[in-house]
Symmetry: D2
Amino acid sequence: MFTHDFVKRIRYGETDQMGYLYYGNYALLYEIGRSEAIRSEGITYREMEEKMGIMMPVISVESRFLLPVKYDELITIRTKLEDLPGKLIHFYHEIINEAGQLTHKGEVKLFFVDMKTNRRVSVPDIILSKFKPYFDS
Amino acid sequence: MFTHDFVKRIRYGETDQMGYLYYGNYALLYEIGRSEAIRSEGITYREMEEKMGIMMPVISVESRFLLPVKYDELITIRTKLEDLPGKLIHFYHEIINEAGQLTHKGEVKLFFVDMKTNRRVSVPDIILSKFKPYFDS
Amino acid sequence: MFTHDFVKRIRYGETDQMGYLYYGNYALLYEIGRSEAIRSEGITYREMEEKMGIMMPVISVESRFLLPVKYDELITIRTKLEDLPGKLIHFYHEIINEAGQLTHKGEVKLFFVDMKTNRRVSVPDIILSKFKPYFDS
Amino acid sequence: MFTHDFVKRIRYGETDQMGYLYYGNYALLYEIGRSEAIRSEGITYREMEEKMGIMMPVISVESRFLLPVKYDELITIRTKLEDLPGKLIHFYHEIINEAGQLTHKGEVKLFFVDMKTNRRVSVPDIILSKFKPYFDS
């Protein structure tokens, strides 16, 4: 399994009048989590688009809200891959607050599109090769 | 079953560099859908908070992305209740584009909290009474 | 002078924990105002980009916050042109609340870029011809 | 003069279909800049609200867009105070890209409100005392 942690502070503009992180802003946390996870392996999503001509549209999101997250909290976005990517890449995210509590779980599935042909393709080899070591037994 | 339609235009600031509505902005569409659905029955979420002291935190979201939605498209947010609310209220949303295509499906579950006691409660009677006629056989 | 009004409701996700419309969300109101002002004259910004190959980057914004705007308020975005566009187009915006109070003033200046050459150009004739009648004495 | 730098990466959800950081998202950068500037002096805006009962509404914003900022760029938010705060606090922000270019200038003026009385007050002494050393001749 692959795991990556990234720390982010919650901003005023990300809260709502309930005083909590607005439920619509978790998707940005997932985006931060997956892009930083890929970056930690030496690839960036920007290069994927610009150099490999591959984009990764989101196909589904599932979110579970366990505890509210408040203004100015320093949260940890934990991003996991439980399986090697293939036709899809499936990210698991956990949002952990300063007290170490699990506040939120999110799952995001994305696929790969060749921007020249506009067709679905499998995970590029360079991505696969980066994550393979985490799954070899 | 209860169904309500609300029409909204997609703004530049809601797109991303892929040229599509950013996947994180669908949660605002769900919010618009459910608040306008309630308003169509003569209640507003603002009154629920201010007058009844009830707030409705989100407990889970499930989203399926079928087709991209583009800048300036006039989309229909279709909001459905398939069951009477009880301990939870479960909204089903469909995003339909100008060509009449179903582009997106979302499900949002919320619960009810008494803001004075900060405890979970069941759906307020006034909400229940509004939606009951749609489910009587 | 050209004036155009557009009505919009403030959503939960647009508020912050102060309970007001977040100050960063006024820029979206300006965008709505100017795009609907142009649309009211039979042109859309989408067509400008797609058919005329003209984009309009923002060069400056000035905002003055007079009164807070609250959740669920139905605001009027008043958009004015006080001069004919030339090298720049200069929009004046007023945000008026349900009680008829002026809550906010914004000014946005944009320029015109030919997307093929990536160079600044003057206002396209088709835009100029639409707005000219409002300024003829 | 007081100066503080904070580094932030631009996310996909913060771009628009022009491929640039959306003009409405700079306000969040200013918020990050001023809150981190205050934090660097040992105070947080969260404490100001929660412990001192002081909130800081924005009264005006002025923004100048010099160069586009692109997806995934690591920008520096430079935040300056050129004068001691009094009835107002006046932040100057510069957004500097990875190449060291000044891409954007923003000015934000805020005032101080006593949350109990809902009245304007002058800058709290604790804030003033933190910034005073930067302005003593």
